[in-house]
Amino acid sequence: MLASDDDILGQAEAWVTAGKGVALATVIETWGSAPRPVGSHLAIAEDGHFLGSVSGGCVEGDVVTEAMDCISDGKPRVLEFGVADETAWRAGLSCGGRIRVYVERIG
């Protein structure tokens, strides 16, 4: 089953309470046929566990990598993902849409 916001934000809090570094990624803008709506969350713990989604699985790997840097330096960042073939070696969205994702550290 899909994780709900209850599970995602609840899990993020549980990770923080357990003393883990945690980042929260949120879809802040979409263009075209984006797989997940604005406001969708992905919570990431420093040990690599994550819950939720910001796309249909296309860019989660990249977001998790950026989230690790965010947990280290504490700086929020805005990531943008577009169509796969334009960005060759980067993650892309096969659906043809574009999304912007805000990543912030919790704590």
Partner: protein, 233 residues
Amino acid sequence: MRRELLAELNVARRERRAVVLVSSLDGAVQRLVTPDTLAGDPLVESIDAAIRAGKSALVEHEGTSFFLTVQVPPVRIVVIGAVHISQALAPMARLAGFDMVIVDPRTAFATTERFPDVQVIAEWPETVLPPMKIDRYTAICCFTHDPKIDDPALEQALRAECFYIGALGSRKTHGKRVERLQAKGFGEADIARIRAPIGLDIGAVTPTEIAVSVLGEIILALRKKPLRTQVAS
């Protein structure tokens, strides 16, 4: 995000309170806004619109980008009647991501044996609905066919502006129901909000098929039409 803000977001969600987290994308500003603290907020208009739409949004204010994370209560289905249709609806509602509660004062119906995976309350609706705080994020389905049980629930659902109110029964049964509600002082516009006969007209025959038609109608009311308060604004 500060840890306390995340904790407050989670508490609000559990207590079914609407809140908005305002975050500037440069990381400089972050605050929680509730309908009570909304009036004094510099982004009052954008936040108000976002709460009404129930959707998170990116907004610009004086050259800065802010993201509004809107958290409105999860949609809940309150079913009056621990009947066959409710047995079919419970697992479907859970799959579709809705919270569901069944209320039926008849203890022979409202048993955990019949409903192993859903909350069942063996009480009268007039006792149980007020503390449950039904709201415009609640759908009410009346399945008992018994006016003593269904009617008080319908009256409370109308007053609470539930986004979906459905009642099982033929047109004839509904005609009598309308007369009873009119006698209680409900007007035409109120009564028109009750969907009866309940469910989308997909030719449903079995209890399971009726449950599908009801769930479809709830989703239609939730997604396709604006909430009543949006229309009013």
